[in-house]
């Protein structure tokens, strides 16, 4: 089965050459906190973004992303690099977020942070491609908001797989690793997540087609 994999980014070292994740991970495994700091800089946005999508709250996502990196640091000696660092890190962040969500469910605290939704809708994630006319930009922003609200209506399980697949381009196997599930489960969740999003965005679909 051919799969699409996200390519981890590279950072520049002092000589201007790119430093691969694997090299930074090796240094960090040797106790080099500065190498780990580079990994934090490289992935903090993605880890924070994933936590935010899952818990729907900026402050909690910030704390959870912190927690994920600390857990990653502690678990680094056991990381064998047989999977990508980013996949492994996503898994940790995913678990942190899920543990948090479970606790919230147990506590019966289902508050939804509208502030975050509004902040995001203001443009943080909607990146117009090229210069758009004001009316197009406005429509684009509204569309982005609708899409994110639709995603927020999915269960965390469905939300995670559809974002990891459609947005991050992870393979089924990588998503299964991140979410600690079987590839069959990943495919099933993808199917239902897409179906639900299609329902929620039916008219949007048609509008996007005509653009």
């Amino acid at each position: 089965m051919s799969q699409i994999s996200a390519t981890p980014p590279l950072a520049a070292n002092a000589a201007g050459a790119e430093v691969a994740d694997t090299d930074l991970v090796k240094s960090a495994q040797g106790g080099d906190a500065r190498a780990f700091d580079q990994l934090v800089t490289r992935y903090r946005g993605k880890v924070f973004g994933m936590c935010q999508h899952l818990v729907q709250n900026e402050q909690d996502a910030w704390d959870l992303a912190q927690e994920a990196f600390i857990k990653a640091w502690r678990a680094l000696p056991t990381f064998k690099q047989d999977s990508g660092f980013y996949t492994w890190l996503y898994r940790i962040a995913h678990n942190c977020s899920y543990d948090w969500l479970r606790k919230k469910r147990i506590q019966g605290d289902g508050e939804f942070d509208e502030t975050w939704q509004n902040q995001v809708a203001a443009g943080a994630e909607t990146t117009p491609r090229g210069a758009l006319r004001p009316d197009q930009a406005l429509r684009n922003r509204e569309l982005g908001e609708r899409i994110r609200r639709a995603i927020a209506q999915l269960s965390p399980e469905h939300r995670a797989v559809v974002l990891l697949r459609e947005v991050e381009g992870l393979s089924y196997e990588e998503i299964a690793e991140v979410t600690e599930s079987q590839t069959g489960t990943v495919m099933s969740r993808l199917f239902y997540a897409r179906k639900k999003l299609q329902e929620l965005l039916q008219d949007t679909h048609n509008a996007h087609e005509s653009d």
Binding site: G31, A33, K46, G49, W62, W73, Q182, F191, R194, L197
Partner: protein
């Protein structure tokens, strides 16, 4: 995972991960099934729509502070690991327990990794035990001065019998100096060399600082 499951087929076709024969067979089916065709095409349109408007990456508020917090916590972890790790010099510092008539209590002290703060009162008539610490709270520690041995004997009740061939280590301190401002106690040998410097942490647990 059952690749022939209709749901899985839709998902795998949408993601472009079917083999060539599989794809050909599925697309032949699509020709004869307009409803299925409409469903897979809708699923296919969803990906670009999501990618155009959503990203998993988000700008981390106060990114530098985020990194510094991670680094700070890592430093704390490293300090805690260093404190917890038994070092050769902390074991050597217990060499004063090697006298034969101390066998049971000395070995016991080594086994429980207890630290005993004591000071010589000068002259040959003894020493004074200032305090005990044993990580195992089931061990009851006490002491008395043995005139025959001219030494303070530590009694650690609650431990099983120690084999005779168990290696024993300890130290023989000539004098101690307490520094109230630094909350440290330093043990010196007869030549004025530092055998051990100790301090108590916020929980009152003794910590060996240096040899």
């Amino acid at each position: 995972m059952n690749p022939t499951d209709p749901q899985n087929s839709i998902t795998r076709w949408t993601d472009g991960v079917m083999s060539v024969p599989e794809r050909a067979a599925f697309e032949a089916e699509l020709q004869s099934n307009p409803q299925l065709r409409a469903e897979v095409e809708a699923a296919k349109r969803l990906g670009p729509l999501l990618r155009d408007h959503v990203t998993l990456e988000a700008a981390v508020p106060h990114g530098d502070f985020f990194n510094s917090q991670v680094q700070e916590r890592i430093t704390e972890l490293q300090r805690a690991e260093l404190r917890a790790k038994p070092t050769p010099w902390t074991l050597a510092a217990l060499s004063w327990l090697t006298r034969r008539w101390w066998a049971v209590t000395a070995v016991t002290a080594a086994v429980v990794a207890g630290l005993v703060t004591w000071r010589s009162l000068g002259g040959e008539d003894g020493s004074q035990v200032l305090g005990f610490y044993a990580p195992n709270t089931e061990i009851h520690a006490s002491s008395y001065h043995d005139n025959g041995a001219n030494a303070a004997v530590l009694m650690l009740d609650g431990l099983p019998a120690i084999p005779d061939d168990h290696p024993i280590s300890g130290l023989s301190a000539d004098r101690t100096v307490n520094e109230p401002e630094m909350a440290t106690t330093t043990l010196y040998d007869a030549k004025g060399g530092v055998l051990l410097a100790m301090a108590a942490d916020s929980a009152g647990t003794p910590q060996a600082l240096k040899q």
